[in-house]
């Protein structure tokens, strides 16, 4: 098997341990991300692990790519410490407020600038937005096939065989390369950054590209390039519909059984 060049798209998300302290900006209805520290989106760790493991096995390069504010250099350094070879941060004030499509446009432009890889890896979804859209949108923009919610990936001569989670089970797909693959958490167990990895990451550094470097216009990125606009955010009222049955126990039991049968909950 020849060496593989893999680009991993990574998103910093608010640290789930501190979600209790997360607030929404009442004006934009967006998360106030600056309030709490960020971590690598957990499923993106699975994507990084898969890329680094393939790199160790077949050789090639692992490039970590992120569209995020400047502070994301910490998460990119962590991804490098896990074994990435280089890191590219797409950061520009005009990228703020991007929805999944504007984000995918940015990432696709970044991938084109880096050069067509053999595979693009993503987490299946981000812990904060949970749309599962960015990976497939990147694939569409790059005109590549995509495999989503992958729980096992085997690289074979000429392509990959992926086990993908679907609503009612799993499907096994064969796919030619290049391709975009998004990973679920069962795919692997992500490694921790080692101290020597941290030393190496420190020496490698992070490359930063702006909208101008990517050749993207203001209308294509950020809030301006986002067809999705948040109109409202609310917590749906969750309640249980309670019904009290009254009478002697045998009557209540009979009545309960009748209702359960009517709802087809028992035979």
């Amino acid at each position: 098997m020849r060496p593989l060049d893999i680009i991993v798209c990574m998103k910093p998300v608010p640290d789930p341990r501190r979600w209790g302290k997360l607030k929404l900006d009442p004006r934009t209805m967006l998360l106030r991300r600056g309030d709490i520290s960020a971590v690598i989106n957990p499923l993106d760790r699975n994507a990084i692990e898969q890329a680094v493991a393939l790199g160790e096995r077949f050789g090639g390069t692992v490039t970590i790519l992120s569209m995020a504010p400047a502070e994301a250099e910490d998460q990119l350094a962590e991804a490098l410490a896990m074994g990435g070879d280089r890191a590219v941060l797409l950061s520009d004030a005009s990228f703020a407020g991007a929805d999944s499509l504007a984000t995918a446009r940015c990432l696709a432009a970044g991938i084109r600038k880096i050069g067509q890889p053999d595979m693009v890896f993503c987490g299946a979804y981000s812990l904060d937005g949970s749309t599962s859209q960015v990976g497939p949108q990147v694939a569409e923009l790059l005109d590549l096939p995509d495999l989503t919610h992958v729980v096992a990936l085997a690289v074979e001569e000429g392509g990959v065989r992926a086990t993908c989670r679907v609503d009612d089970g799993q499907v096994v797909c064969d796919c030619t390369l290049p391709a975009v693959v998004t990973f679920d958490k069962e795919a692997n167990r992500p490694r921790l950054p080692t101290m020597r990895g941290i030393m190496k990451a420190s020496a490698t550094g992070v490359v930063r590209w702006t909208a101008a470097d990517l050749g993207l216009s203001a209308g294509e990125v950020g809030l301006a390039g986002s067809p999705t606009q948040m109109s409202n955010v609310f917590a749906p009222a969750l309640g249980r519909k309670g019904e009290m049955l009254e009478g002697p126990p045998n009557q209540v039991a009979a009545s309960l059984l009748e209702k359960l049968r009517a709802d087809r909950l028992v035979n």
Partner: protein
């Protein structure tokens, strides 16, 4: 708690004019965010950990929670160090934090090492102290060893083939260095060592031991050696059982007509006092401070968790002032301890003298950990005395830290000399 008080105060002081204070404080609690702001150029102090240390903290914390935490209960029961953990610590790279890259380390420095020992100790003080004493051995060889010694010992110590250690203390005492009785007699092919070291961390697990024995009289009469398990006449003796830090390996090392070649000498003959003092004060005491800091952080975490969960009089006890005051005390000691520790480590990293600051940190933080552990136990009420709650372990662990690496009284002597100079 204190944090909230300070935030409110800052709001008042930040008003444009103190002469015209705001009519009233906001009726509803104000959400004070801490956005990452660029540092104003006129501010010269930076209290953020550097990026490398932040990454170390995150990675080691995850390791401690995933790998070390499941071992803690067994270590408490058996009082044995889980030998398989040494390789795992080696694979993570924390054994080589203060060892140069060419010998297999990462050389991320003493602040990174402080943070790593703190995070491990937050979960297990016993593993924390094993790690920090390992660094004493590794740093003594790294700082004072010749090329051959570094190439021979450091890569194995970084990999975790065994833990390192530094064996100084004798039955005559640890702080009275000149009172030691172990001897190293010069013979044609090298030295013959006789004597006994006690209360040595990693005594039975360590394959390469840095130790000190008398080659003459007076401060220049001490010399340091690297001994290997398997040398004839050298081995571990009694295994100690401690009230706390259970599971960390503590015991005797005995030399009985142990013949060592001249190549086992660390530094020059007569350098033993310098090597011992520098290693104990700058590495060992900073490491004990880091161990106690981790324990103190755990005391805070457990106290806050219990105060929020336990209800009394129909509300969480965190709403009772008696509990709030105790939590505020623990938090204040935690903050003070952390800055003392990080400052001492920073001094070491920038190459300045840090013996006094590391001793100050060790003395203060170990005492603070005991006080905080006692308060954490008290916050737990009757539960605090129960073995299934971790605070009793934290209390016992903190007590052991006080005398390790020099008692508080010795620490105060060192600090007072600097304070009165």
């Amino acid at each position: 708690m204190l944090d909230i008080l300070f935030r409110r105060r800052r709001r008042v002081y930040n008003e444009p004019s103190l002469a015209a204070p705001p009519a009233r404080l906001p009726a509803v609690p104000v959400v004070v965010s801490r956005p990452v702001a660029p540092r104003p150029s006129e501010v010269s102090m930076d209290f953020d950990l550097p990026k490398d240390a932040r990454l170390v903290k995150r990675s080691v914390r995850e390791f401690a929670e995933q790998v070390v935490a499941p071992l803690v209960q067994e270590m408490e029961q058996s009082d044995e160090f889980p030998a398989a953990l040494i390789r795992q610590l080696g694979a993570l790279g924390v054994l080589g934090l203060v060892t140069p890259a060419e010998y297999g380390g990462s050389n991320l420095g003493y602040l990174a090492r402080m943070v790593a020992v703190e995070e491990i100790s937050r979960v297990s003080g016993a593993v924390g102290v094993a790690l920090q004493v390992h660094h004493m051995g590794a740093s003594a060889i790294g700082d004072f060893g010749n090329e051959a010694q570094k190439a021979k010992y450091l890569p194995a110590l970084c990999r975790g083939d065994s833990l390192g250690t530094c064996a100084i203390t004798e039955p005559t005492g640890g702080s009275d260095l000149l009172g030691m009785t172990s001897t190293a007699r010069t013979v044609s092919e090298g030295y013959v060592l006789n004597g006994r070291k006690c209360f040595i961390t990693n005594s039975h697990l360590s394959d390469a031991v840095v130790t000190v024995a008398k080659t003459g009289e007076g401060p220049k009469g001490l010399s340091a050696f690297i001994l290997e398990k398997g040398m004839a006449g050298f081995g571990a003796g009694r295994h100690e059982h401690k009230m706390g830090l259970r599971g960390s390996d503590t015991g005797e090392l005995i030399f009985r007509d142990c013949h060592v070649p001249r190549s086992a000498l660390l530094g020059n003959e007569g350098d033993g006092m310098t090597i011992a003092l520098k290693t104990i004060s700058e590495v060992g005491r900073a490491g004990m401070a880091a161990t106690a800091l981790g324990i103190l952080q755990a005391c805070y975490d457990e106290a806050v968790r219990f105060a929020r969960e336990r209800t009394l009089y129909g509300r969480p006890i965190a709403q009772l002032q008696a509990i709030q005051w105790n939590v505020a005390d623990i938090y204040a000691q935690l903050q003070a301890s952390r800055w003392l520790c990080y400052h001492a480590a920073w001094l070491k990293d920038v190459g300045r003298d840090c013996g006094v600051e590391a001793t100050l940190a060790k003395t203060y933080v170990t005492e603070a950990a005991v006080q905080a552990a006692r308060k954490a136990v008290e916050i737990h009420g009757g539960c605090g005395a129960m073995m299934e709650y971790p605070v009793q372990r934290l209390f016992r662990d903190a007590m052991v830290c006080v005398s390790a690496g020099g008692t508080s009284e010795i620490g105060k002597i060192v600090v007072s000399r600097a304070a009165l100079a």
